[in-house]
Point group: C2
Chain length 226, copies 2
DNA sequence: CAAATTTAGTGACTTTTCTCACAATATTAA
DNA sequence: TTAATATTGTGAGAAAAGTCACTAAATTTG
């Protein structure tokens, strides 16, 4: 089985036998989305499950006045679209490719068949949704009772957990998002992001170097803002 | 089949045949929790799934300084505990009975067996988690970009959707939670809740009458704050 | 039913954060 | 390489919401 249409190591499908994988591969199709192209719009009805093969996408919601809230970024092996797919309601968020991204797409009906046929796929899916719900609850807590400093710290920690590299006890984020985007993630303003980050530098909690950010004492930082 | 240990109409189990229902009933057990008793603590490891038979519980997270964030209230037929149960991580929230509540409890291993054996239970569960994730995303959006008025409105709408009764075009919440709790749900202060609610009354959006709250023009209210 | 306790309303002041304005860098395109 | 554009830094004033202190009302308890 090496003519699969998607990487075999997608965790969502990790426990399936080769025959089933082959079948899934035939059911779905690949599609490439260019940088900044919209993959799904808020309020659109859900027809398919999308698995990210390569690239990076942004999941966001937008308010009337045009301001956007970035809910999360997704990377290869992550998937989305499952919400509208399962409950048939309209989608809750907009998904945009932030760099050229290749996706594997399975239609709703085919995916539902798979769930009934292969309980282990459901369990994988449940674990992932559970992980996201936990992250969402953490974010709600952060937004509810923290001041600007705490919110920014929470966002930094979230990014560090997703893409941070550990180098001799120091956690490094190599490509920190723009302050504008950090503001949308933290629920604060761009200026506050700038001031807060420099506040952290002054306190010796982090180091900034271009768009690299190093958390010099990760344990301490985490403890102070968890 | 009328000697079941839990109500047959729990949506989570709605598509199961009588034999399976009977088996589940034997696997789990009932337990009653008194008012204000803690059912699950944050950071405790997950061993079981809890289905609410009667009563009402509160799901919350607490910060170091003792302030609490109410994530949601759950009512009969709702369930919880599934997060720690699926991913094995520690729990993300504390669950407290806010009135005497009777719960049906299934141990982790038994429930996992059920999931593999009965794909439709997984799909039910997926739908519910999906619903919660959608609600959580909405709340994150609300907390991120709304002012106090918007946050309070979002909480009122959320409560109205859960327990509001529609009486000739007017949506009525019969037992509005205490302002203290509304504040913890909205991520604001008790005083701001008081002032904001009276602001809504002045604008003719709602009516207050003891602990009843009527949204006089639901459509308009929803439109203004969605 | 009176006293005690909870819950709610509100003014005054404080603090935080936002917003605006503009300068300083950095990055990209011509 | 220079110009154009995008991103970041920062002061100052405005606005929003929090906190404190106290009163009023409602509810519970003895």
């Amino acid at each position: 089985m090496d003519d699969l249409d998607f990487p075999k190591f997608v965790p969502l499908f990790e426990n399936l036998d080769d025959e089933t994988l082959q079948k899934i591969s035939e059911l779905g199709k690949r599609k490439t989305f260019g940088r900044d192209s919209i993959i799904l719009m808020e309020h659109e009805t859900g027809h398919a499950l999308f698995v990210i093969i390569s690239g990076k996408v942004k999941v966001s919601r937008e308010s009337d006045d045009g301001r956007e809230v970035i809910l999360t970024y997704l990377s290869p092996n992550d998937f989305f679209g499952e919400m509208a797919l399962l409950d048939g309601l309209t989608r809750s968020a907009t998904v945009t490719a932030i760099e050229e991204s290749e996706l594997f797409i399975i239609e709703r009906a085919d995916f539902l068949d798979l769930l009934y046929d292969r309980p282990e796929v459901s369990v994988s899916l449940l674990q992932e949704l559970t992980r996201r719900l936990r992250a969402a609850d953490m974010k709600i807590k952060s937004l509810s009772l923290k001041d600007a400093e705490g919110k920014v710290a929470t966002v930094i920690l979230q990014i560090a957990d997703e893409v941070g590299k550990i180098k001799q006890g120091v956690v490094e984020i190599e490509k920190l998002p723009y302050q504008h985007d950090l503001a949308n993630m933290a629920g604060t303003s761009r200026e506050t992001i700038s001031r807060t980050l420099h506040g952290f530098v002054k306190k010796g909690l982090i180091e900034l170097d271009g768009n690299k950010l190093r958390i010099t004492n990760y344990e301490e930082f985490r403890k102070q803002f968890s």
